[in-house]
C-alpha cells in the first residue's frame, strides 16, 4: 500500500538557515501520527513541507505516491492535503460565511457549496449565529472552531494540524480534539504537531520525536509517552541554548 504522505530524507530551511536535516516520515491512509518535540526542533517546518508551503532544499515529498517536491501549494490542497497552520488560520478580513464559502467553493464545487455551508452551521451553531461577522473579530477559540468546521466538512485525505491547542482555553482544546477524533473516524489521516503531549498521544496511533531537525525516535503512540518523559525533556533541559537558536 502506498503511503498517503511520504517525506524521504527531507532537508528544509529559511534562506541561509536550515531547520530540517534529512527527515523521513510516512503517514498511511486513515492513520494518525503525532510529531512531538521541544520548541524550535523543526516541527512547524516539517508541517509546512508536508503541505507544500515550503519547498524542501533536498529530498522528496510524495503524496499518494506522486512526487510533489517543489510544486505549488495549491496542488497539495487539491491532492487532498489540508493544513491548519499555527496561529491565526482564518481570513481575518472576510466574514465567517465567506471564509467557509471560499474553501467549499473550491473543494466541493459551486453546486454543493450551500449544502456544505448548511452542514457546517449545523455542526457548529456558534458559527451560524455569527455567519456575517468579520472573522478577525472572533475570539481565538472561535477562530479555531471556524478552521475546524472547514476541514471537517471537507474531509481531506490528510489533515496537517500545527499546534492547534496553542493559546486556547482547556475547554476549547477538548472541543478541538473531539473534532479531530470525528475527522479521524470519518477516514481522514492526521499529522498532528503538538506540545500538549497527552492529548495528542490519546488520539494518535504513532508518534515521531524530533530533536534539532532530525527524527530521534518513532514508534507506537503508547510507547511514546514514556520516551517523551525520559528522552525529550532530559535532552531538552540540557540543550536550551540550541533549541532557542534553532527557532523557526
Amino acid at each position: 500500500m502506498t503511503a498517503l504522505l511520504e517525506l524521504r530524507n527531507v532537508s528544509a530551511g529559511y534562506g541561509a538557515f536550515r531547520a530540517l536535516f534529512g527527515v523521513s516520515v510516512e503517514v498511511q491512509p486513515g492513520e494518525a501520527v503525532a510529531i512531538l518535540g521541544a520548541n524550535g526542533v523543526g516541527k512547524t517546518t516539517l508541517a509546512r513541507v508536508a503541505t507544500g508551503l515550503l519547498a524542501p532544499t533536498s529530498g522528496t515529498v510524495l503524496v499518494d505516491g506522486v512526487d510533489m517536491s517543489g510544486t505549488a501549494t495549491y496542488r497539495f490542497a487539491r491532492a487532498g492535503v489540508a493544513h491548519a497552520p499555527e496561529g491565526r488560520s482564518v481570513f481575518a478580513t472576510l466574514s465567517v460565511e465567506d471564509n467557509l464559502r471560499l474553501s467549499f467553493r473550491q473543494s466541493k464545487g459551486r453546486a454543493n457549496t450551500p449544502a456544505a455551508l448548511a452542514k457546517a452551521f449545523e455542526l457548529f451553531p456558534m458559527l451560524a449565529a455569527r455567519r456575517h461577522q468579520i472573522a478577525g473579530t472572533l475570539s481565538g477559540g472561535q477562530q479555531r472552531m471556524l478552521a475546524m468546521a472547514r476541514v471537517i466538512i471537507e474531509e481531506p485525505k490528510l489533515l496537517v494540524a500545527d499546534e492547534l491547542s496553542l493559546g486556547l482555553a482547556p475547554i476549547v482544546v477538548d472541543e478541538v480534539y473531539r473534532s479531530l477524533r470525528r475527522l479521524k473516524e470519518s477516514g481522514s489521516a492526521l499529522l498532528i504537531v503538538e506540545q500538549h503531549v497527552g492529548h495528542a498521544l490519546a488520539l494518535c496511533d504513532r508518534a515521531i520525536l524530533l530533536d534539532r531537525g532530525t527524527v530521534s525516535w518513532s514508534g507506537p503512540a503508547r510507547e511514546a509517552a514514556e520516551r517523551v518523559a525520559t528522552h525529550v525533556f532530559e535532552n531538552d533541559s540540557g540543550n536550551d541554548g540550541d533549541a532557542a537558536a534553532a527557532a523557526g
Binding site: Y14, R48, S89, A92, L102
Partner: protein
C-alpha cells in the same frame, strides 16, 4: 421643468455643474478602491496606467484615424490588461509579502517610468492645446439639459453612466462571484488561499488585469476633461480621487462613488456661493481664490488626521509570512574594517580627483551641472534623514525645499537681508513647519504618512504659493522670484567657481550633521523604533519626539538645499524645481540608489543633474575615446531613460531597502572576503521573527 431663480436654482445648478467633475473623481476613486481591494496595493501608478490608455486611444483614434470601437478595444481591452498582467508578473508577484510602504514606493517608481516607456515605444509626444476626443461621436458638441438649469455634454453623460454601471458591476463581482471572494482572500494571505486549493498567482493576475482595464477605461473617459494630454494631469487627478476613495475607507465602492460626487459638488457649490459672501466680507477673498482648488487636499489631509479608524481598517498581516526567508543583513554590518577603510580611501580619492578636474577644467555649463548636483545631494540628505533613518516616506520634501527658496526670496529680495543670513532663517522656518506638520502626520505611520505629506505638498502647490507672503503674489508675477548671489568678505559668490566651493562646504557640513545624528542618541532611538515601536515604547522611548526631531531636521536640510538651489539659479523657479511631482522623483532617485547613506544621496544628486548630459548624451564615451566624433551613433539617448531607469530602480526597494549602492557594496565585500580566505563572511543571521517586513532592518 423650470425653477424659480434664486438661491434654490443656483444651488441646483451648482449641484448639477459639480456632477461631471464629481463623476470623474468617482471613477478614478472606484478604480483606486478596486486596485486596493483586489491587490492590496496603494497604487499611485493608477494615473500613469490611465494616461497610457488615454494616449493610446488618442493615437489610434485621432492620429491613425481608427474609428471609435477598434481604438477603444485596443487601448482599454488589449493594452490596459496587458500592462496589468505585465506589472503583476514582473513586479508585484515578488512584492506580495512586502510591506505596504515598499509597494507604495514601487508604484511611485512605476508612475514615473510607465508613461515614458509608452512615449518612447510609440513615439508619442503628448498633446497640448487640444481637447482629446471622447468615446462617443461628437461627445463635446451635443448637449442635453434635463432640468433647464445646466446642460450636460454627451461625453459627461457617458462618463456618469459608465461610472454608475461600473460601480454596480464591481459590487456584484465582489458580492456574488467566486473570483471576487478569492481576490479579497489573496490580498490578505496568498499562502493561506493556496492552502484552500486556489491558485493565488492566477487570481492576482486576474486582479491586475481587471484593475488595469478599469484604469484604462477611466483614462479614456476622463481625457476629454483636459485641454492637454499629459501624464502629470492624471497623477493630480489620482491625488484628488484618493480623497474620495478614503471617504470609503479604501474598500467601499458605493462610498467612493458618493465621495467623488460629493467632492465635485462641494467644489461647485463653493465656486457658486463664495463670491457672494466675499462681496460683504472682503477678508474672504484669498479663500475664495484658493479654497476651491485646495478642497480635495484639505479633505484628504483632514480625513487622514481626524479619522483614525481609516488607517487601522486594513492593517492585517499575513499569518504565514514566517515562511519567507529572512532578509539579508546590511553590508555595513558584515563588512570588515579593512575593506571599509579601502572603500573610504578609494571614494575620497575619486571625489578629490573629480573635484580638482571640475574646479580647474570645467566650462560654464559643466560647472553649473556639477554645482547643481552638489546642491541636490544636500537636499537628498533630507530624504536620508526621514526615509533612511526614521523609516518614513515623505512626499513633501520639494515643498520644504520650496519654503527654503521662497524664504530666501522673501527675506533677501523683498526685505534686503543678506542671503547668507536668509538661508539659515529659511531653514529654521521650514524646521518649524516640519515639526508642526509632523505632529499629526507621523502619528499615522506607513503609507498614511506618505499620503498625508502628498496632500500637504499639493495643498502648498495649489494654495500657499499664491499668497504674497509666500510666493510673492503680484510682485513675483511681474518680476519673477529673483534671488541674488551673496558676497562674503573677499569672496564674491557671483563667481560660479566660488559658489561651487560654497555648495561643497554646505554639503560636507550637512553630511557631518546627518552622520552625527545617525550615530547619536536620536539615530539609535529611531533604529529602535523601526525595529519595534512597541518594544521601544516599553523601555521608555517616545517615538513621537524622535520622529518630530527627524522630520524637523529633514525639513531644515531640504530648505537649506532649496535656498542654495534658488541662489544658484538666481531664481526660485518653483514650477521646475519644487513641484509635488519633483518630490516624487527625488524620493525615487534616493531610494533606488540608497536612502541610508551619504554616498546614496551624493550619487542621487549626481544622477539628477549629470546622468543625462554625461551618459545619455554619450559625452563620457567621447572623453574615453578622446574625440566627440567617435561617440557611437545611437547617442544621444532620450532623456526619458533617466525617469525609466530610476523609476524601475525602485523595484528592488522591497528586497533591498538599503538601495543599490549598499547592495552592491555588500556583494563585493562578501566576495572579497571569500577570496581573501580571511575572516569568513558573516552568514545571514536568522532573526527571531523570520520574514519581518523589508523596510525594518537596521
Amino acid at each position: 421643468m423650470t425653477l424659480a431663480t434664486g438661491v434654490g436654482a443656483d444651488f441646483l445648478r451648482a449641484l448639477l455643474q459639480g456632477t461631471p467633475p464629481g463623476t470623474v473623481y468617482a471613477l478614478v476613486a472606484l478604480g483606486f478602491v478596486l486596485t486596493y481591494k483586489t491587490s492590496g496595493v496603494f497604487n499611485l501608478a493608477f494615473g500613469a496606467q490611465a494616461y497610457v490608455s488615454a494616449a493610446m486611444y488618442y493615437k489610434a483614434h485621432t492620429e491613425w484615424g481608427w474609428s471609435i470601437i477598434p481604438a477603444l478595444v485596443l487601448s482599454v481591452f488589449v493594452l490596459a490588461p496587458a500592462i496589468g498582467l505585465t506589472l503583476e508578473r514582473l513586479v508585484f508577484r515578488y512584492l506580495r509579502t512586502g510591506t505596504s510602504v515598499a509597494k507604495l514606493v514601487v508604484t511611485i517608481g512605476i508612475s514615473l517610468a510607465l508613461p515614458n516607456i509608452f512615449e518612447l515605444i510609440t513615439n508619442f509626444k503628448g498633446v497640448v492645446g487640444q481637447t482629446p476626443a471622447g468615446i462617443v461621436p461628437n461627445g463635446s458638441g451635443v448637449f442635453y439639459d434635463p432640468f433647464g438649469v445646466y446642460p450636460f455634454s454627451r461625453d459627461e453623460l457617458t462618463t456618469i453612466g459608465v461610472a454608475v454601471i461600473a460601480m454596480l458591476c464591481l459590487a456584484a463581482l465582489f458580492r456574488f462571484t467566486a473570483i471576487g471572494l478569492q481576490m479579497r482572500a489573496v490580498v490578505e494571505s496568498p499562502r493561506m488561499t493556496e492552502l484552500n486549493g486556489i491558485r493565488s498567482d492566477r487570481v492576482s493576475a486576474v486582479s491586475w488585469a481587471l484593475s488595469s482595464t478599469f484604469a484604462g477605461l477611466a483614462g479614456v473617459l476622463i481625457a476629454p476633461r483636459f485641454n492637454t494630454l499629459a501624464a502629470p494631469d492624471f497623477f493630480n487627478l489620482v491625488v484628488v480621487a484618493i480623497a474620495a476613495a478614503i471617504l470609503g475607507r479604501l474598500v467601499s465602492l458605493p462610498r467612493a462613488l458618493a465621495g467623488g460626487l460629493g467632492l465635485g459638488m462641494v467644489i461647485a457649490l463653493l465656486g457658486t456661493f463664495l463670491p457672494r459672501w466675499v462681496d460683504s466680507n472682503p477678508w474672504l477673498r484669498p479663500f475664495q481664490e484658493n479654497l476651491t482648488p485646495a478642497v480635495p487636499f484639505v479633505v484628504l489631509f483632514g480625513v487622514l488626521v481626524l479619522w483614525p479608524a481609516i488607517r487601522r481598517s486594513r492593517e492585517v498581516s499575513d499569518p504565514l509570512s514566517g515562511v519567507d526567508p529572512p532578509i539579508s543583513s546590511l553590508a555595513l554590518a558584515t563588512r570588515s574594517a579593512r575593506s571599509h577603510l579601502i572603500g573610504r580611501v578609494f571614494t575620497v580619492g575619486v571625489l578629490g580627483t573629480v573635484a580638482t578636474i571640475v574646479y580647474f577644467r570645467a566650462d560654464a555649463s559643466w560647472m553649473f551641472l556639477v554645482t547643481q548636483a552638489v546642491i541636490m545631494a544636500t537636499i537628498y540628505l533630507s530624504v536620508t534623514m526621514i526615509t533612511g533613518l526614521a523609516g518614513q516616506i515623505s512626499l513633501c520634501q520639494g515643498t520644504f525645499a520650496a519654503i527654503g527658496g521662497f524664504g530666501v526670496y522673501q527675506l533677501a529680495t523683498l526685505h534686503g537681508m543678506s542671503v547668507l543670513v536668509a538661508a539659515p532663517i529659511a531653514a529654521v522656518i521650514a524646521a518649524a513647519v516640519g515639526a508642526v506638520l509632523s505632529l499629526p502626520v507621523l502619528r499615522l505611520g506607513g503609507i498614511w504618512t506618505a499620503v498625508a505629506t502628498l496632500a500637504f505638498a499639493f495643498f502648498f502647490d495649489a494654495v500657499a504659493i499664491k499668497f504674497s507672503w509666500v510666493g510673492g503674489g503680484n510682485t513675483s508675477l511681474m518680476q519673477g522670484t529673483r534671488v541674488p548671489r551673496p558676497v562674503l568678505g573677499p569672496w564674491d559668490f557671483a563667481d560660479d567657481r566660488a559658489f561651487l566651493v560654497l555648495a561643497v562646504v554646505v554639503f560636507i557640513i550637512v553630511s557631518i550633521v546627518v552622520v552625527q545624528i545617525r550615530g547619536g542618541t536620536i539615530g539609535r532611538t529611531l533604529r529602535a523604533i523601526r525595529g519595534s515601536e512597541v518594544a521601544a515604547q516599553s523601555i521608555g522611548i517616545s517615538p513621537a519626539r524622535a520622529r518630530v526631531v527627524a522630520f524637523a531636521v529633514s525639513a531644515a536640510i531640504a530648505a537649506l538645499g532649496g535656498a542654495l538651489l534658488s541662489i544658484h539659479q538666481k531664481n526660485v523657479n518653483y514650477g521646475s524645481n519644487f513641484s509635488p511631482v519633483s518630490s516624487l522623483f527625488w524620493l525615487v532617485l534616493v531610494v533606488s540608489l540608497g536612502a541610508r547613506t551619504i554616498e546614496g544621496a551624493a550619487l542621487a544628486g549626481a544622477a539628477f543633474s549629470i546622468f543625462d548630459p554625461l551618459i545619455l548624451r554619450g559625452t563620457i564615451f567621447g572623453w574615453i575615446l578622446r574625440s566627440p566624433k567617435r561617440v557611437p551613433g545611437f547617442f544621444p539617448i532620450s532623456p526619458k531613460w533617466r525617469l525609466i531607469l530610476f523609476g524601475l530602480g525602485t523595484l528592488q526597494f522591497a528586497r533591498h531597502p538599503e538601495g543599490a549602492v549598499e547592495f552592491w557594496r555588500g556583494r563585493t565585500s562578501r566576495w572579497l572576503a571569500a577570496r581573501q580566505q580571511s575572516a569568513p563572511p558573516a552568514p545571514d543571521e536568522p532573526t527571531e521573527s523570520i520574514g519581518v517586513d523589508g523596510a525594518v532592518t537596521s
